[in-house]
Assembly symmetry: C2
Amino acid sequence: MTGTDRSLQAGSPGAAPVVVLVQPQLGQNIGAVARAMKNFGLSELRLVDPRDGWPNEHAWASASGADDILGLAEVFATTAEAISDVGRVFATTARERGMTKTIVTPREAAVDLREAMGQGINCAILFGGERAGLGNDDIALADTVLSIPTVPGFASLNLAQAVLLTGYEWLLSGAETPARRLHYGDAAPASKEKLVGFFEHLEAELLEADFLKPPPKVPNMIRNLRNIFQRAHPTDQEVQTLRGVVRALVGRRQRGWPDS
Amino acid sequence: MTGTDRSLQAGSPGAAPVVVLVQPQLGQNIGAVARAMKNFGLSELRLVDPRDGWPNEHAWASASGADDILGLAEVFATTAEAISDVGRVFATTARERGMTKTIVTPREAAVDLREAMGQGINCAILFGGERAGLGNDDIALADTVLSIPTVPGFASLNLAQAVLLTGYEWLLSGAETPARRLHYGDAAPASKEKLVGFFEHLEAELLEADFLKPPPKVPNMIRNLRNIFQRAHPTDQEVQTLRGVVRALVGRRQRGWPDS
């Protein structure tokens, strides 16, 4: 099929960019690409002139659960046919080419992709084959070059890794995952009342044990101690545990054991 | 070696976090990790109790040029020994654990790592083995959990991919790569004088050809035309080419060829 029957509009609001592999070689790499796509919510795979034909059993062997993506993959004879229904095209390259074209990072590409797809524009990302990457004629079909930042002189990523990083940025650009959160498992943070109860318990015991002295330094010592435990954001259960620790240590001293 | 002779201070201002693989299984995955590290400027690899011993020839076979990292990799019996000289530890996990711990994305972790290493604090990132990831005892040694956002229900990444995404974020957090740039290859953008010269040439020819009319609409027609070419950010050479195109088309009309 040539794709000429498709609309330039993405089908659904949840649509993701199309991944186009141009002249990929090894089936196992195509499978690894499908797996990386699935990790990050990409689902539409197109293959331009795959060297070993299609379908390719090695792809299924390495897709690890992304068989659905392989099963729906479409094959085209040329890059132009593969992107005929697409409104914006990114071409991934590692090497500089002598072309005048805007170059973006995967992160910036993801912003562009969200913006374009939000307008209902179908988008595609081209990835070249394992040996030499995209040809200059493929890049000339693209609106923008996508270049993955690496250490200079060690830029080579394998095909699935390039798709992985691009997909990762795509997912993150729309993700609701908070960048930082304190995960409490099945527990909940202790109320401040319980925490302060523990502080007062500890401080009373420390006064009793003659640890908090001399008097002018005590307020600051107490603040420092409280900050240590405050910073740990303990749960109810952990506050109980800490109280048990204090009680146990006090009992040990009261029973006259060595402090060691 | 146990690492107890090392300082908590990172050795040099360019230092990067240490990658610690806890009970890795396949040598080829250790090699792929080294390669991913090298792509993104990580260089120090530590192995805790590698299943198949060390050195492992399969690692070298898959490292593709990151042999230096493998050659310097150190082996430890326990996670605690591997991080003895480290001041801040991140543990990568995909599964939720019943632990109270801060969870960050790789991007947020990179910010933390830059900040900590800027203070001279040695940092490490723990990655678990292929089969089951990090154990809860390993995670309890970490300050922070690093969790890579994925599509729910398809979270499994292979070891090298997890290192790749983490290294990518590390590099980007310090990178000077602009997110977007117009790359001119060997050329340079045309001066505005040359561009305007072309505009005026084109517009004169279009007036001559009776294209620019009626007069009230001409200013807007000219602005629209200029915007099209302006948006292309042409080089000197491209402006010359465009002038040639105009001349050629004019010559064709003047010679009385059909307009087709």
